[in-house]
């Protein structure tokens, strides 16, 4: 395979609230290769959305900050770039779609203008040319009567249509990396499937790498090439979709698989795993999953497991390694 388009190395992100520092992401490693769809899965509070915002450098204006590690995009460290350099990438080489299509478009600006703005921000192209390109993009994401939609306001479109517009906007500058943060969570089942189709087509045609963030393993199975499972600010297991689904190693992943909701279910709570994701303050000292793990033993409480074989963080697998 070629060089990774994105590689996150030992990234730490924390939030600074009322003089306290709350860690949200604690040392994750993740790489994406061109044309690859990688799923980032976890319960809410696991740090997956913070990871995406960290990569997009969209934490400004929030109390959050990337405090360690680096984020390499095409071998350039995003954390060392000036604001101007970062803006050149955002919306151009790296773009993002969000969970809430209903509120992610500006309600007082026409669809066309919002698309044209994204295009002209990064390309020297006439207004007429940008409009033409916008219509083409709307066509590509399967929006009927694209020319008319250009002149409409967001509230005149359904949620699914708005998410298509968001995808068209995100893809309009032919990005190398698309970050999709729960893009289908807020949508109906049938619409969900259509949006996933659109995204797959986009990948096939533009060879865009997609970081797909979701809590829904069903969607992962359908969409992704590889998966990283996040828990309490860490990646606890990663591998190809086949490996993870056929032979999950981490007890958390097993728990997730045991509770796969059907596609379209909006449940964020994964009932087969008892308890809740601990808050940053209440995380156990050793393995962060210790308080919910059915296989927990003494060592788990004492020391945090490292990443074994670059794949999973569970002491059970260290033992196996030894016994073999």
């Amino acid at each position: 395979m070629s060089n990774p388009i994105l590689s996150i190395n030992q990234m730490y992100t924390s939030f600074h609230v009322d003089g306290e520092t709350i860690p949200a992401v604690e040392g994750i490693d993740l790489s994406l290769y061109p044309g690859e769809i990688v799923g980032l899965v976890g319960e809410s509070g696991s740090g997956k959305s913070v990871t995406s915002l960290s990569v997009m450098q969209l934490l400004e204006g929030t109390p959050g900050k990337v405090t360690g590690g680096d984020i390499l995009f095409e071998n350039q460290n995003l954390l060392e770039m000036t604001d101007r350099e970062k803006r050149k990438l955002r919306g151009n080489d790296i773009s993002m779609i969000f969970q809430e299509p209903m509120t992610s478009l500006n309600p007082v600006i026409k669809i066309g203008k919002q698309l044209v703005e994204a295009i002209r921000e990064h390309q020297s192209i006439s207004k007429r040319g940008a409009e033409k390109h916008a219509v083409y993009m709307l066509d590509q994401v399967g929006i009927p009567r694209a020319e008319e939609i250009m002149k409409e306001y967001p509230h005149q479109l359904s949620g699914g249509m708005r998410q298509r517009v968001m995808i068209a906007m995100a893809m309009s500058c032919d990005p190398k990396l698309l970050i999709a943060d729960e893009p289908t969570t807020a949508l109906d089942v049938t619409i969900q499937a259509q949006i996933l189709d659109v995204m797959r087509n986009m990948r096939d045609e533009h060879h865009t790498a997609i970081l797909f963030i979701t809590h829904d393993l069903g969607v992962i199975a359908e969409m992704c090439d590889r998966v990283a499972v996040m828990y309490a600010g860490r990646i606890v297991e990663q591998g190809t979709v086949y490996e993870i689904f056929e032979n999950p190693k981490h007890p958390y992943t097993k728990g997730l698989l045991g509770s796969i909701p059907k596609i379209g279910s909006r449940a964020e709570r994964l009932d087969s795993i008892k308890g809740q994701v601990p808050t940053a303050e209440d995380r156990p000292k050793g393995c962060k999953f210790a308080n919910r793990c059915p296989f927990v033993y003494k060592h788990c409480w004492e020391e945090e497991p490292p990443l074994f074989d670059g794949e999973n963080r569970c002491w059970l697998h260290e033992q196996k390694g030894e016994s073999l």
């Binding site: 803006r87 955002r90 993002m96 969000f98 809430e100 309600p107």
Partner: protein
């Protein structure tokens, strides 16, 4: 939008009725005989009797109201006790000075209010925010009569830049409009700040940033317009407060407007003029509210395009 407008305009009718009744009843609310009040303290019994007949004060109340409204529609608001001139003429010649002063004040209020509000929202919790918000609290706390007199003392008496009062060229507008606009500027600043801070939390702002727009463009293109919808509505309503504030400002600056006329009439117990002023001020408020409502509908695409809303 048409439907919306018609609905708003029709909604005014009951209020118009209430206001006309209040204005009509005003003379009757004052303790004492209305005829005596209208005739003035040194009127003879004969004069009072004439007044009673002229104004139909011996007729039943509803008949008086009907007559009052009939006169009103013919543009007859009675005659001033003090100057013996038709009240209509007096109001007409004072309407424009007050209106122009109000607009000049709104210009300052919007200019400073929006500027300060945007700065403090963008620099949230930094020193710029603390400073501008302290200025804004000061703005609503400062007595306009004191501010006005201090401005006169500094810029007219000491520096001689502007006239101390009266209406004339542009220079005569500066001090009165600054005095009148200061409080409203402060209100607009606080409101702009909170409105803009709310909008900056919206998802579409994040979308704008995700497009790679510079923060300046995000605020200018995406945040301001949305933040301005409630601000415009609120600022429009402040016209009412400018009108009432003009009473004090006009007194300080000897401005020949409606506000000073009102105070003079109250002091001189010129009841027909007071009655007409109450009616006029109330109508102005209604009109402002209506215009603001329509403007709100125009600015908000959801209302502009949805039929039957």
């Amino acid at each position: 939008m048409l439907k919306y407008s018609i609905k708003r305009i029709l909604g005014m009718i009951p209020l118009l009725f209430v206001i006309s009744v209040i204005a009509f009843l005003f003379v009757h609310l004052i303790p004492g005989d209305p005829a005596r009040l209208i005739a003035g303290t040194d009127a003879t019994i004969e004069e009072i009797k004439n007044i009673r007949e002229k104004y139909g004060l011996d007729e039943p109340l509803y008949q008086q109201y009907v007559d009052y409204m009939a006169n009103l529609f013919q543009g007859d608001l009675g005659t001033s006790i003090v100057s013996a001139r038709p009240v209509m003429d007096m109001l007409a010649e004072r309407f424009v000075p007050t209106l122009s002063l109000t607009f000049a004040s709104m210009f300052w209020a919007l200019l400073f209010g929006l500027l300060i509000g945007v700065i403090s929202a963008v620099k949230r919790n930094k020193w710029q925010d603390h400073l501008t918000m302290f200025l804004a609290v000061s703005g609503v706390s400062i007595p306009s009569f004191w501010l006005g007199l201090m401005l006169i003392q500094l810029f007219s008496v000491q520096l001689g830049w502007f006239p101390t009062g009266g209406i004339g060229g542009i220079e005569s507008y500066i001090l009165p409009s600054l005095t009148l606009g200061a409080g409203v500027a402060a209100i607009i600043a606080r409101f702009t700040r909170s409105s803009l801070m709310d909008v900056l939390k919206e998802d579409y702002i994040r979308t704008g940033r995700a497009k790679g727009l510079a923060e300046f463009k995000v605020i200018n293109r995406h945040a301001l317009r949305n933040a301005m919808i409630p601000v415009v509505t609120m600022s429009g309503l402040q016209f009412g407060f400018l009108l009432s504030g003009s009473i004090i400002t006009e007194t300080i600056f000897s401005w020949p407007g409606l506000g000073r006329l009102l105070i003079n009439s109250i002091t001189a117990r010129d009841y027909p003029v007071i009655q007409a002023e109450i009616l006029l001020f109330s109508l102005e408020f209604l009109l402002i509210n209506l215009l603001v409502d329509l403007l709100y509908g125009f600015l908000n695409p959801k209302i502009r395009y949805e039929e039957g809303s």
